[in-house]
Amino acid sequence: MRKVPVGAVYLAGLAPLGWIVWLVVSGGIGVDPVKEIEHRLGKIALWFLFGGLAITPLRRFLRIDLLRYRRAVGLVAFFYVGLHVLVWLVLDMGMLWAQALGDLVRRPYLILGVAALLLLLPLALTSNTASIRRLGRNWRRLHLLVYPAVALAVVHYLWQMKVVQPQGWLWLAGFGVLMALRAVPRRR
């Protein structure tokens, strides 16, 4: 496991994007490509965010140590969050800035999504060795923001559904499990 270079994670992280591009090129994306791309990007971002949150419990409870890949997983997640928002603004809203902005301030699920993006932004910007050195212990504190960010992202995902589907509840439960595992007291 340790032999897999970190670069491979970045490369693997591009695979879902490649799949979307393939679907668009081959016509498999369906008759509403914009919504499909937008939703797929958001869902992929969630997978990587959850992946990032899974690394600590994997190490603690299953002794699988993927810690050296966590930065890559987080950055890939942020990459998909960014693409998701970009597709919403450009392809979906058609750069109707006024309506996009109006929707943003009036619609709670959009606010939550953008809030998640804003919380993740400083984390992505400080996901480098120089920042870890410079920020010292504050780096750890800053990166606790990932918890509210993912919580917001999950609620954003559930809230945009017309009616919450079983799949939505599974994501919420999954997030609950990832959080609960952190609350398990350590044996002395």
Partner: protein, 270 residues
């Protein structure tokens, strides 16, 4: 199946219809699943022959009407209608149908009838998402005020592009009310009941603060979670943003239907 002979209608829009592929592979028909592609994938096993519609309540001639009898209520017309989903996308669809009023007249509406209730088939063995887990109280139900039901724009559709309606679009018989959001246009109808009191509707029951009984297309009254000011016309491909267009009041049918709502506060009666 044989193509349906239908006459053109002055109510048709001259906008270019969406392709058959688009209309039949992008559907909200939650009985068959949550995703737009699910109905096409899962509706194939639905038995639509034999089919009958039970007409009851405040009518002179209640009973179970076989489908071919229902279809004889009036000559088939082609109605090319704009279709606006509450999710802010839209299509143009060449339905084959006839005015609902013709069927109601045949059943004989009693003077006390003020509303029409509709019900979709409930058959979990063939409709895979009709489970308790779905969170929806099946069967799907909808309703119209009697004047809305009798309006000439309101049709029962049994065909699409000249052929019998595909299952994912609500075969063999569905409602089409073009000035209302798509969820009012209930699919695969098995029951029509004339009532005095407003009937329950599925979406209103699920989210009363978001979906009203009327559900008229209205760019000025937003859905609580998204704007209804514009819509994306399906079929623009990747560059659908070029197809985002302003939503019209009553989906562009205001000239015909605005009078039905004279004096009503459409913010209150959404």
């Amino acid at each position: 199946a044989a193509r349906i002979a239908a006459t053109p209608s002055p109510y048709s829009t001259d906008a270019a219809p969406n392709t058959l592929e688009e209309i039949t592979s992008y559907n909200n028909f939650y009985e068959f699943g949550w995703n737009k592609g699910d109905p096409k994938a899962n509706a194939g096993r639905l038995t639509i022959d034999p089919w009958s519609v039970e007409i009851g309540g405040l009518v002179e001639r209640p009973g179970s009407y076989p489908l071919d009898d229902v279809l004889r209520a009036a000559p088939a017309e082609e109605r090319i209608y704009r279709f606006r989903c509450v999710e802010a996308w839209s299509m143009v669809i060449p339905w084959i149908g006839f005015p609902l009023s013709a069927l109601l007249d045949r059943a004989g509406v009693q003077p006390g009838a003020k509303y029409v209730a509709f019900q979709t088939l409930y058959r979990p063995a063939e409709m895979n998402n009709q489970t308790a887990l779905s969170g929806i109280d099946w069967p799907y139900v909808e309703g119209l005020r009697i004047d809305e039901a009798m309006h000439p724009l309101t049709i029962l559709a049994s065909g699409l592009y000249g052929d019998p309606l595909p299952r994912q679009n609500g075969a063999p018989l569905r409602l089409v009310v073009p000035w209302k959001y798509g969820f009012k246009s209930i699919k695969s109808i098995v029951k029509i009941t004339l009532t005095e009191a407003p009937p329950p509707t599925t979406w209103q029951r699920l989210q009363p603060q978001e979906y009203g009984f009327y559900a008229n297309v209205n760019p000025q009254v937003d859905h609580p979670r998204w704007s209804q000011a514009t819509e994306r016309r399906i079929g623009g491909g990747l560059f659908a943003f070029a197809n985002r267009q302003p939503t019209q009041m009553f989906n562009g049918y205001g000239e015909e239907v605005a009078a039905l709502y004279a004096g009503m506060d459409l913010r209150k009666f959404y």
